[in-house]
Symmetry: C2
Subunit: 555 residues, 2 copies
Amino acid sequence: MKSDIQIAQEAEQRPIKEIASKLNIDELQYEPYGRNKAKLPLNLIDEEKVKKSNLVLVTAITPTPAGEGKTTTSIGLSMGLNRVGKNAIVVIREPSLGPVFGIKGGAAGGGYSQVIPMEEINLHFTGDMAAVEKAHNLLVALVDNILQFKNDQFEIDPRTITLKRVMDMNDRALRNIVIGLGGTTQGVPRETGFNITAASEVMAILCLATDLEDLKKRLGNMLIGYTFDGDPVFARDINAHGAMATLLKEAIKPNLVQTLEGTPAIIHGGPFANIAQGTNTVLATKMGMSLADYTITEAGFASELGAEKFFDIKCKSGGLEPVAVVIVATIRALKYHGGAKLADLANEDIEALQKGFANLDKHIENIQHFGYQPVIGINQFATDSEKEIALLEEYCEKKGVKVALNSSWEKGGEGAEDLVQKVIEAAESYKNTFKFLYNNEFSFKEKIEAIATKMYGAKGVEYSLKARKNLEQYEKLGVDLNVCIAKTQKSLSDDAKLKGRPTDFIITIRDVEIASGAGFIIPIAGSIMRMPGLPKVPSAEKIDIDVEGNISGLF
Amino acid sequence: MKSDIQIAQEAEQRPIKEIASKLNIDELQYEPYGRNKAKLPLNLIDEEKVKKSNLVLVTAITPTPAGEGKTTTSIGLSMGLNRVGKNAIVVIREPSLGPVFGIKGGAAGGGYSQVIPMEEINLHFTGDMAAVEKAHNLLVALVDNILQFKNDQFEIDPRTITLKRVMDMNDRALRNIVIGLGGTTQGVPRETGFNITAASEVMAILCLATDLEDLKKRLGNMLIGYTFDGDPVFARDINAHGAMATLLKEAIKPNLVQTLEGTPAIIHGGPFANIAQGTNTVLATKMGMSLADYTITEAGFASELGAEKFFDIKCKSGGLEPVAVVIVATIRALKYHGGAKLADLANEDIEALQKGFANLDKHIENIQHFGYQPVIGINQFATDSEKEIALLEEYCEKKGVKVALNSSWEKGGEGAEDLVQKVIEAAESYKNTFKFLYNNEFSFKEKIEAIATKMYGAKGVEYSLKARKNLEQYEKLGVDLNVCIAKTQKSLSDDAKLKGRPTDFIITIRDVEIASGAGFIIPIAGSIMRMPGLPKVPSAEKIDIDVEGNISGLF
């Protein structure tokens, strides 16, 4: 069997001009990045077309460590829709170098449902991630420079600075650090740390901004810390937002690439869904909707993370409303949730599968909370037995939800034929039933509890002393903020070990960070870290390039 | 008077296709980055053409804080050569965001001798700087991951790790830090710090590599630290170099842009000349020489820094030999060295000017040490009096060195007419007189002392205990390494306050770093830092972007 990178390297790449012309975009309207990538100008967004276009969200059940194929399904679905004469586009997130060099690998789909150029997409791409990182770190450098030279003007209490630096790297040793050591010319010593760039507030802002003006305003609203008198200090107070927005001048433009079948694909913004808001940019989604009748998009990890944030943060902020929701399920993951071991997932195990249905149930309920009847997309693996597949299909039908077997990993758009039909049916019968999970009037704790009980299935929420104090302080800001919980993706609960559908558990909020420019607080549940670490054997040790420039080990 | 950014924004930008076609490069050979930038493939380098092409180095006298216009002169000279029918190209370094947001501003020339698109060149450009940063930091993350998980295999003594992380930012608070705090899951605590990306060893390697294979080999040769038994550990020992080279796949390709007059310009690699080796990449220079009869290149700051490193490191490593050397001098800087105050440099001051000639003398001698008779290019300012200019011209003529008044800042290529003639004369009469300053057989101390006495004019060198110990340790590696001294650019000495031509001083080497992959040691003289800090009022606070995307405050 060919690896993802082999398939991608052997693929015919159409000139980006040809992809753009499919969307009626003239050569002079976009900016090429190499021969097969381009940046699209924001004036191609057409709010009238956005209102009429069909937005489809792809989410998933609780994943195994390998992921269940949301991106693969999204890409396959977009290609399948084009095959039946629909004008469809896929809009997904940009990969982060952290997972690429860590354990998960790239994020450009898999098998015959990939976006290309796979290598460039996974490495640097058009530089957006780097621009976000620079804009974020410039703000923090300006803050430390104030402490060094002119804190008499600003009176920032160094102990209250909540903003960390960011780096697009899995680097646990940077989580907790002390900076500014070495004497009076070397800065003011203080405790701080790094988050991964995907969890940067600037990334969140880029993903929610509606234009350059809104971007700059949001950057200016980033909370830095407090004065010695307890007054909040924002990025605008130290004149950082203009230079930050300048650094994001190109990064704000969505990126156009292609799928293996030449379907247009937009890739833009890359926040993780466990430790950040987990969806591509509002601008990219609107760009897709301006250019196509069907826009397929995804939100990271399972429904309680990516989908919840997609609806309650992205749709609310961007005024978006999907017409259909797909839940990606795999026989493998269901067996895993039913108690089968990772090493045994290739073996038929009816009992484990049936036990695992409980996890699927919860994700169906979660999507129903938002007013949708989901379509279950079974991402087929060669190791799935016919009996297992039949059982899952039967189970879904009994529950009254549409189900489709999807083999687009193996067959590309053709493999998504059944899923395409079910999605069209769902979209055409959608009746504006979308609703948010919580109201803006809720207190922070009410919002957190709504998510924890309705989405995670928790019986309650406990807060550390630090979390309570932070919530009190953030409430004093008097700004309406959403809630973007950081939680493990490995379980519906905040305990990675609890598979299936855990019940009778408490969510522990150990800390709360804030992203006031992005417009949310970030309660941190359990032991999740906003700077991941590398595994014992990182992918980086296996990635290589030969003298001709051919890359291997990237998957 | 128009600002640099106004002139750049008003300029007619030719499509990159047109610039490439001037060099006989077909549209299918390069990769476009936007409509006015491109990456050139390495197979365009032709070693036979490199041998025949005329390489001209532009260096300078000791600068004022604003810089004396080496890049402006290089660009003007290339445009002027084209005006008289020579096929010329300019090859310069990529700007770093540190100075852009700090005090110096951009590095794309000035007035009517600029490279464009000025804003993109100064901000992110084609992503090379970010790629260097990621490759470097990936190595350090892999090292800290070994300490966390598998140091039983490697036995790296954490206290001996010399490699720091890097960030393209002026951020003094990151110079001395403690990482890995917070308990057993958060890394191994150790002292370390960040250098600016321009001073990264990966940047040095990118600038000296002759192809992708050499790049990877050099990355593998980067010293990480030592085992508990005192054996050196290199990047290749932890399998980091393959992934690092993969990250540099695109960054290794030189970037093509244009000057304001449509002359082709190559911009590639961005090490500073005070704290790093200060010249663009060997590959970019060879690319220029493959494509043009005259290649104008520059080396950072004054002759004792950039030019010394250009000859002794870059030319040695890349097998290059210039045919002429220009020393850029300004009336302003000479008066400054003669005792005039920064605020008074616009006023005629014959006495100060004459005293300042001593600084020029030393830089002429420095270039003569390498076997060249330099051409003095007077970078003209509106405030220079006729009397001052006449005096300087007369002084140079008396010394028997060619001198030319150059007004290319004001007039573009036309303003370089006289300089062009002098450079052609020098090039055509060049007789392979080039020689290095020191032999490979010299000990580290002999190499350092050759540079300190012959280039800086010092009477001797003193070493701190730490510097001595490091030198002893590096000698044990048994590798032939050049010397790349980090020293202030503000003085010929290591004391920024000593203007003019200091004499009777001692150079103090307080520390020595190593870049074994790049092929040199880095003795650190005086109090210079390899991570700069922001000034009290950083440029960043004045840089802004409006709703239409127009940038202001970038200069």
